[in-house]
């Protein structure tokens, strides 16, 4: 999944979508994941990074990761060709 290139993401977790004018806020782990997605990291790479830093196993993380991707899709923050 690729997120929209035009998104402005601040270091404190605010997101601005210039194509709609909508703003969003992320929690810290949501911000980390969004930044990794923008850098083109794969699911496996993201899972590895998160499970190393946080107290969570890969299986548990996976379900919340996909849930998070679902939210990004719902908010139309991903490239439309995905």
């Amino acid at each position: 999944m690729k997120i929209k290139k035009s998104l402005a993401i601040s270091e404190t977790g605010f997101v601005f979508d210039p194509s709609t004018g909508d703003s969003y806020t992320l929690n810290p782990i949501g911000l980390e994941i969004l930044q990794m997605l923008r850098e083109g990291n794969s699911r496996e790479e993201i899972t590895g990074t998160v499970t190393q830093a946080y107290d969570v196993d890969a299986m548990t993380f996976e379900r919340y990761y996909f849930d998070f991707l679902g939210m990004l899709k719902q908010m139309q923050l991903v490239e439309t060709d995905e």
């Binding site: 997101v15 909508d22 703003s23 969003y24 806020t25 992320l26 929690n27 810290p28 782990i29 949501g30 994941i33 969004l34 998160v50 190393q52 830093a53 946080y54 107290d55 969570v56 548990t60 993380f61 919340y64 990761y65 849930d67 998070f68 679902g70 939210m71 990004l72 719902q74 908010m75 923050l77």
Partner: protein, 451 residues
């Protein structure tokens, strides 16, 4: 190296110009322990979900209520409303504090007797008292509050048969300025029916008119209806003194005091809007102290309030079963306790808290129970922290009506524990098992043949 605690990732859309109605961030202070006992250890030991009662809170709430009335009026009595919560341990705490028993069925009446309440300290209310119930109540010298003329005449027959002169009151319904006015219980004040009943009793040599009773409604968020009710009750009592030279021994003003829960649709939280015991007491007692009672015959004031005395002392703790997103993207959390255990969620916006520390992150969330039924909704939409599967939660103020109106529906009813004043935990009602229910059933023999 210690890993950081994991919180599920979340993104929220910002709605500029539409802050929360109070303009403040909604914070969810966790309830990690109750009276010094960690919630997590309670769930581990006694299972999830779990009802938890605080003896300390019950006693302190009762004493606050009693003080509010007794500091204003010389002769006050509380009678514990069994239907609000008739777990024996809970009833016995109130009886230890000096409460009599207020019951509304033969079942509750016998429960009170088994809890050690003397017959003459039981107030028997309600529209359905069987002849056997009346006979038992007459034999025990209980206070029988008559609901309708059919009951009045049956009681006269029972009294004649027993050669006893039962102590009775009539229940009076009235316009106390609340809508809708309750007129289905007792005899109406405004249309003269109450006086008809009083005249009938006063001319009956088999009945002793001991008191007058009313119960104007439930969850009454204003004190004014109580002032009106007390005024009308005092007028009847003074009228009886004038007409029959009869001094009633008590005025029972019933219950109906609101707790600090927030009713569905309420704009402000109940904790900010519910009158205090002092407010209710001032409204009622100020009328009685001004009434024209004979100074030597100031009637006893009886209160039957239940909800306001027990709601705060009850907690329902449990575990998040799952989180999911609904079709429109809204977050939903499924808890392991639903409307089957939390009957009051049909009329309250319950205060649900995490039972362990959480971040300030929140999402608008629908809170569902575990039942495979569409009606199982605890909160349709609330700002809620980012709990995930397995996280513990606590629902506050569930002490009234839930352990009497709960349903054995789809799942079994869980353990109920009491934390005593020394923070010791006691199981006061065991969880149900399949055997509990199967013991009540029997299957005809021909259905036991398996094909």
């Amino acid at each position: 190296m210690d890993k950081k605690p994991f919180e599920r990732p979340v993104i929220k859309k910002l709605n500029a110009g539409m802050p929360s109605k109070f303009g403040l961030q909604v914070r969810h202070e966790p309830i990690t322990e109750i009276d010094g006992v960690p919630v997590s250890s309670l769930l581990e030991r006694y299972g999830s979900p779990l009802f938890i009662y605080s003896e300390k809170t019950i006693r302190s709430t009762f004493r606050e209520a009693f003080r509010a009335f007794s500091s204003r009026y010389p002769n006050v009595l509380f009678s514990w409303s069994y239907k609000t919560n008739y777990l024996n341990a809970i009833c016995k705490i109130f009886h230890q504090e000096g409460s009599w028993a207020e019951v509304v069925s033969g079942f509750e009446y016998k429960k009170a007797l088994e809890n050690g309440v003397k017959g003459d300290r039981i107030i028997f209310n309600g529209p359905d008292k069987s002849r056997a119930d009346l006979q038992l109540a007459v034999k025990n010298g209980s206070l029988i509050h008559i609901d309708h003329f059919d009951e009045l005449y049956e009681l006269i027959e029972v009294a004649k048969e027993s050669d006893a002169k039962p102590n009775v009151a009539i229940r009076i319904n009235m316009d106390a300025g609340i809508y809708p006015a309750w007129d289905r219980f007792g005899f109406n004040y405004e249309n003269g029916e109450a006086w008809d009943a009083l005249n009938r009793i006063m001319h009956c040599e088999n009945l002793e008119l001991a008191g007058l009773h009313t119960h104007i409604g439930t969850y009454i968020m204003s004190t004014e209806p109580y002032r009106i009710a007390a005024t009308k009750m005092a007028e009847l009592a003074v009228g009886l003194e004038r007409k029959f030279h009869h001094h009633i021994r008590y005025i029972d003003i019933g219950g109906g005091f609101a707790s600090k829960n927030t009713l569905k649709g309420g704009y402000y939280p109940g904790s900010d809007t519910t009158p205090s015991f002092e407010d209710y007491a001032e409204a009622i007692v100020s009328v009685l102290m001004k009434a024209d009672f004979h100074p030597d015959h100031l009637p006893l004031l009886i209160l039957e309030t239940g909800r306001a005395l027990i709601d705060d002392a009850g907690y329902l703790a449990g575990t998040v079963v799952a989180t999911k997103r609904l079709a429109d993207g809204q977050r939903a959390s499924i808890l392991d306790a639903g409307v089957n255990l939390l009957f009051t969620s049909f009329w309250y916006d319950h205060d649900i808290r995490p039972a362990k520390p959480v971040s300030d992150q929140t999402e608008e969330t629908a809170i569902f129970g575990p039942l495979c039924m569409n009606i199982d909704v605890i909160r349709k939409s609330t700002i809620f922290p980012l709990l995930k599967k397995g996280d513990p939660y606590v629902i506050r103020r569930v002490g009234a009506y839930n352990n009497t109106q709960w349903l054995q529906f789809i799942t079994l009813r869980p353990n109920v524990v009491l934390i005593d004043n020394s923070s010791q935990v006691h199981v006061i009602r065991r969880e149900e098992t399949l055997e509990t229910l199967n013991d009540l059933e029997s299957t005809p023999e021909h259905l036991n043949v398996h094909k």
